[in-house]
Symmetry: D2
Subunit: 257 residues, 4 copies
């Protein structure tokens, strides 16, 4: 394992408020949000795990984990949060070696989680109807060093899916019910469909469409995360809490009901 | 992809209440809970994705996913539920190729989730102080076809950790604070410590011990899962709900604070 | 304050599992669920606050509070739980002296809470379309010694409300939206409408109907109650938890929007 | 019922963001937060339930309910929110005619809820060790027109309680366990003790102290409130959510365990 930053390393800088900045030491002198103008080459040779002074701020220097990659992405739209991505990976039984499709790509947050989970032998196909979202997500995937596991397509998933034998199809689009029959065709037997929707009415239309196809194990969940604050005074749940992200619906392809 | 059950296949049978039975077609005629006495060879040649009549019950026949493996385990103690395993995998940034340690092994539920996530090139080391728990967990790992990714040890993790450079150390023991300093030594720089505890007092002792070591990003979470019931009458949260599983504390090794 | 049970007292017996039995000492020898056949007169003279041996069981003896009355009712249908009744009282700003209408009466659980809150000078009017529910609820109200504050009517609230100038109208019926315009007419200016519905689709139809009338402050809430278990081992949320009761929608009458 | 504002009326003005301003029409020309300088007399004669133009803003004009009084208070510290006050009233079985003690008074929020519930024949005694908190709370009680139901005392409740035969004692102080034995003495038989604490360690010390006294029905709850947003697009839980307020512990006095 590397102990010091070497050429071509991608690193993460973590400040004292735990904000994360991912830096490609191979890059050119550039303005980096939260740091200022910096030549990444000046970071070479620094020791991983230690604190580093850059300008008037201090940063811990680490090799980026998937968590860092997810937390360090540039957002341009509402993203699927890591807590929901965690449940998608688990409930869709994502494993190394699988081929999975997601639509749309958003900022590439779920794409990073999926690509990390199917690597090194699997692959993620990602549809989006907006070129600018694909471009934005690819920047985040490049920063996360995961582009080799991802193929993007400008395509509306409600018009059909080109691939077949897929291990999972994950839909983060406003009208997932329109892609349910395409997903059924594209999935392998036993493969998982997942949809992510903030509204109950979306869940209802999706579940009703799923029920008209040979899917089993159709379940809808909401995941609520509470942070516990442990201080010297004592322990309590955090006052700050996100009240809702989205509902996750899962189902699994069979051939007869 | 296989369309019919072949020799040596491990299969999952899912009944109409979604109970899952994992069967090794290579096994001998045996009594299987929920089916009765059956010669697994009689299942060969059946078509995946279809329904199968066995005795007076019907089962869908599928190739088991990680989910099936987790849901099909034989429990002998309180297990870490898949919903919490999902957060452990995500917040510890578990990836293919990593080496991770867990203690204790319990029924092998988290072991299955970890082994699936680090395969095919990674490895799980699992400590437990009770031989019978290791034996029981190994049966579940055998059924899940994951033993090649797991090494077990009869060892009390509070007395020390033999390995080093670990990507993650996950503690599901009553007194995780006693293993925090061993975990720090055994982890790689940037590696993750995770503890799972049902009680607030356990969380407090653990967090206070973590704070005395060079760990950053120390956070404690509780994950609450609500199922939504979508019926023809309308949609509502399930009346049935598990009120609590455990608190998950995460932290990450650095070398200076 | 009375220290011993006197003639005509209504008392509550609380067993060691905190189950509550309300007994009218004025009643005749009868079989009482959880006690057996007993002549209530034999309880006279016992000291409040002390434990009492009846048969082979022990009971604390107290003057019943509203809580006891609510917990001691005989249920014949799903009831509005005290936790939701509490929010109804607060969000409808129920006070001594008010006149409030509820429909339907159910087992009389909310009726007891309302009657206790508007007493001694206020009144509760309760509609139900089923005589047997009214009869059952009146038994619970009699036991709670609150009948003088309650008037019942066999009437379908969706066909109209006879009263006017009401401080609050509370609807626990399957189709509350059909009574929204009647409630608007029957309420005083500034009076509160409340509906209790388990399903999202009921909430949606109700809120949309409310929005077509001069109501302000229309809000929908779900109340989730977690019990914390404090034991010598430590503290944690209870594993047992009711996942859902119902959604509470509140709105307030004005004359112009 | 009044249809127009008359002399001596206390009124509530509700703006389009549902912010509430309580105005005593008897008061002098003054600067009112959210309105500007106004002579309350100019509001006389306006019609209740209608919208009123004041300066460049519009307000609904109503007779204030308890809810308005609670929402219109001036806060100077963390208050007990109406949702928690609702549970205190219910679980302490507060009724018209009772005598209850609270300590400390805070901004008078719970005092308003208690006074409204015990009126017209009951009374609230409120201890606080800080004169400025009592003064501030009394302003809110005056605005709520409830001072005749409240007696305040500068007194530390952990040093003792002067009153006895109380229906309920409610403690919102940092160290409620120090007042548990005083509360036991001051309560009537069957009376309720309630403590409100944000931290688990406070709950633990309180519960352990309660368990050393003749109290039954000792329970601790946390109430979580979720708002549901119903829009033309569909329905979902609010993204905004308060993650924690405090734990409520209840217990009830008996004379033998």
């Amino acid at each position: 394992m590397k102990t010091r930053v070497e050429e071509h390393d991608i690193i993460v800088l973590i400040d004292e408020n735990l904000r994360k900045i991912i830096v490609d030491t191979n890059g050119k002198t550039d303005k980096i949000r939260g740091i200022g103008v910096i030549d990444p080459k000046t970071l070479l040779g620094n020791e991983y795990g230690k604190k580093l002074q850059i300008g008037n701020k201090q940063f811990w220097l680490l090799v980026p984990s998937v968590q860092d990659k997810l937390q360090g992405i540039y957002r341009q739209a509402q993203i699927i949060l890591p807590r929901d991505a965690a449940h998608i990976l688990m409930n869709c039984a994502i494993e190394p070696g699988q081929t999975v499709l997601e639509a749309g790509i958003g900022s590439g947050s779920l794409t990073i989680a999926l690509a990390s989970a199917v690597a090194p032998t699997g692959h993620v196909i990602s549809y989006d109807i907006r070129q600018e979202f694909i471009d934005h997500a690819m920047k985040n995937l490049t920063q996360a060093d995961l582009t080799r596991y991802v193929t993007t397509k400008i395509k509306d998933v409600t018009t059909g899916i080109d691939e077949n034998g897929l291990d999972a199809v994950i839909l983060d689009i406003p009208n997932p019910w329109l892609a349910v029959s395409h997903a059924w065709v594209a999935l392998k037997i036993g493969g998982y469909l997942c949809t992510y929707s903030p509204l109950i009415s979306q869940v209802e239309q999706t579940v009703r469409t799923i029920q008209q196809h040979p899917f089993i194990e159709c379940k809808t969940y909401e995941n609520i995360q509470r942070e516990m604050i442990v201080s010297t005074h004592g322990t309590r749940p955090s006052f700050e809490m996100l009240g809702h992200t989205g509902y996750l619906t899962f189902a699994r392809k069979v051939t007869t009901l």
